[in-house]
Symmetry: C2
C-alpha cells in the first residue's frame, strides 16, 4: 500500500557534543521518507523546496525509490533550521534560529500542501503521515481526502501546542495514531505522569498514541493495550535530529505493508520505528540512514528484542 508523508524538506545546521554540521539536508518529511523506504517500496513525499535547493538532494530521495512528484519548487528559499543539543539533554532540541525567526523569505510562508500530486491515482489505498506542521494545514489535508486513508499518523510540536492548542486537539479524533514526544504530551495535557498524559489524550478522541521518550524508548497506548518499549542501547547519540520522524517512518512504513492492523502489529511497528530511530542518531543528519541494509535492520531488531526479553 502507498505511504504518503506531508511535511518539511529543510536544510539544518546542527551542533552536538560531537561537532557542528551546517546546511545539511533534513526536515521531517525527509527523515520520515528515507526511514520508511526501508520498509515500503511505495513511499511518496509531499512538501515545498526553494529555488536554492540542491537537486542532488532530490536525487537522494529518488535513489531510495521515493516518489517526489509531490515536491513543489517555489520562488523563495528552502526552510532552514539551526539547533543544538546539550550534552546532558540529548532528547531536547534547542532551536537557535530558523528562517522565520530570521525573517528570511522561505517556502513555509506561502506553501499550502496538496494531498494528491498530479497524475496520482486517487482510488488507490494509502496510509498518510502528517508530519509536524501548522495544524490548520494538517486539517486541510484531511479534508482534501477523496477516500479516507487506511491509517493516518499525526505529529505536532510545542510551537503549535503553545500557539494553536485547540486546532491541534481538533485533529485528534480525525487521525488514527498520534506520535508525539514526552514534552509535547505533557504540554498538551497539562499532566506530569505518562499514564495521565495517555488518559487525557485518549479522552480528546485519540484512538492510539505513541509517546516517544527519546533514549528511554516509548509508550504505545490504545484502548486495550499499554506497551512500554525501551530504546536500543546505542553506543553514542551523535545527533538526535530526525529521530522522531525516523521512528514514525519505521512505524508507519511497517504498518503500510500489513493487511490486518492488530495490536500485535502496532507493537511490531513500534519495534521497527525504534530500530530506525536508533540508526538515525548514530551519525549527523541522514548519514547513517542512507547507508543501511536490510540485514543490519534485522540484526538490530533482534538486539532490541533480546534486550527486552523477559
Amino acid at each position: 500500500m502507498k505511504l504518503k508523508v506531508v511535511g518539511v524538506l529543510a536544510y539544518d545546521s546542527i551542533t552536538s557534543e560531537f561537532g557542528t554540521k551546517r546546511n545539511i539536508f533534513g526536515g521531517s518529511a525527509t527523515y520520515f521518507a528515507i526511514s520508511s523506504s526501508y520498509l515500503s517500496n511505495n513511499v511518496r513525499i509531499t512538501g515545498a523546496i526553494g529555488k536554492d535547493f540542491n537537486r542532488d538532494d532530490l536525487d537522494i530521495l529518488s535513489s531510495r525509490g521515493i516518489n517526489i512528484d509531490g515536491v513543489e519548487t517555489l520562488d523563495l528559499n528552502t526552510f532552514k533550521w539551526e539547533g543544538k543539543y546539550e550534552i546532558n539533554a540529548p532528547n531536547e532540541a534547542i532551536t537557535l534560529s530558523n528562517s522565520i525567526i530570521k525573517g528570511e523569505p522561505n517556502v513555509l510562508e506561502s506553501y499550502k500542501p496538496i494531498l494528491y500530486s498530479k497524475n496520482e491515482n486517487k482510488s488507490e489505498s494509502y496510509s498518510l503521515f502528517l508530519a509536524n506542521a501548522d495544524p490548520e494545514h494538517q486539517l486541510d489535508l484531511i479534508n482534501q481526502m477523496d477516500k479516507r486513508a487506511k491509517l493516518i499518523g499525526l505529529d505536532t510540536m510545542d510551537f503549535w501546542i503553545n500557539n494553536s492548542a485547540e486546532s491541534v486537539k481538533r485533529l485528534f479524533p480525525n487521525v488514527d495514531v498520534i506520535i508525539i514526544n514526552e514534552n509535547e504530551a505533557k504540554l498538551i495535557t497539562n499532566e506530569n505522569s505518562l499514564r495521565n498524559c495517555i488518559n487525557k489524550i485518549q479522552s480528546l478522541g485519540a484512538e492510539r498514541i505513541v509517546i516517544k521518550l527519546g533514549n528511554y524508548g516509548l509508550v504505545y497506548a490504545s484502548n486495550s493495550t499499554r506497551f512500554f518499549l525501551p530504546a536500543v542501547l546505542v553506543e553514542q547519540v551523535k545527533d538526535p535530529t530526525g529521530a522522531g520522524d525516523s521512528f514514525a517512518g519505521g512505524f508507519m512504513g511497517y504498518l503500510s505493508t500489513v493487511e490486518n492492523l492488530t495490536e500485535e502489529e502496532f507493537k511490531e511497528a513500534c519495534i521497527y520505528g525504534s530500530v530506525m530511530a536508533s540508526f538515525c542518531v548514530e551519525e549527523f543528519g541522514l548519514e547513517r540512514l542512507l547507508t543501511l541494509n536490510d540485514s543490519e535492520i534485522e540484526n538490530r531488531k533482534n538486539l532490541l528484542i533480546n534486550q527486552i526479553k523477559y
Copy 2:
C-alpha cells in the same frame, strides 16, 4: 536465607509538587528493609539512631518482621535530610540541607557499622546490601565478613563519587551487583550513553550492574545479558524518596529466596524491584510501602509484565 542491610535510618523533610512532609521516618536502610520484608521473612537491619529517635518507628520495623538487633543508639541525634523534587525532574533529589551541612551533631559523625550484631549466628548463609555510605565503611564491612555473603549488592551516591571515586571503584570487584542511578553511572564513568556506562563499569571489575532510570525503568547488565526494563506506569509520583532503596529491597529480597542465581532470576528480581519502587513513589515517605499486601504486589507484577509483553 538471611538478608542483611547496612545503611542509614533517618528523618526526612520532603517537598514535592504534592506538598511538604517534615521529619518523617526514612533512610536508605529503612526503605530497603521494609521493601524487602515483603519478599523475605528474614531481614536484618544495621544502622545507627540517635537519642531523639522515636521508638514507635523501631516498632514499625519490628512489625514487618525485621530484626533490629543491629540498630545502635548513640548519644547524638539521628541523621536528618531535607530535600525537594522539581515538578519536571522527579528523578533528581535536590538536597536542601542535612545534619552535616547544618553542623548538627549526628550519629553519622562517629558511627562505624559492625557487620554482625550480638548473638548473631555467623555460620548462617546471608545476602548483604551495602546501602549508600562512606565507601571506606562499605569496604570495612566487606573485610568484616567471616564467611563471604552469597550475594552482595552495593549502592553509592554522587557525593562519594565526587569525593572518593577511587574508594568507590575499589569496591566494584568485591561485590556482586552494583545498583546505582543514571547520574551516578555517568559521573563515575565520565560517559554519556548507557551502553558506554555499562561497559566501563564492567571494566572496573563489576560483574553485574543495575542502572536505575527513575520513571523510565532500569537497565540490568551482566557479561551475558542486557535487560532494559521499563518502569510501571503509575498514576502519580508524589514522593520519589526511597524509590531506589525500595527497588534494591525488592531485588535483593527476591534473590535472597532463590537457590540458583541464574540470569532469569536476576531479571525476575528486576521485576520485583520495579514493583516495590512503583509503590514507594505513590505516597510520601513509607506510607504506601507500609500498607501493601501480597496480592497487590502480584497484581502489579502482572501489570508490569503485561506492559512489556511483546
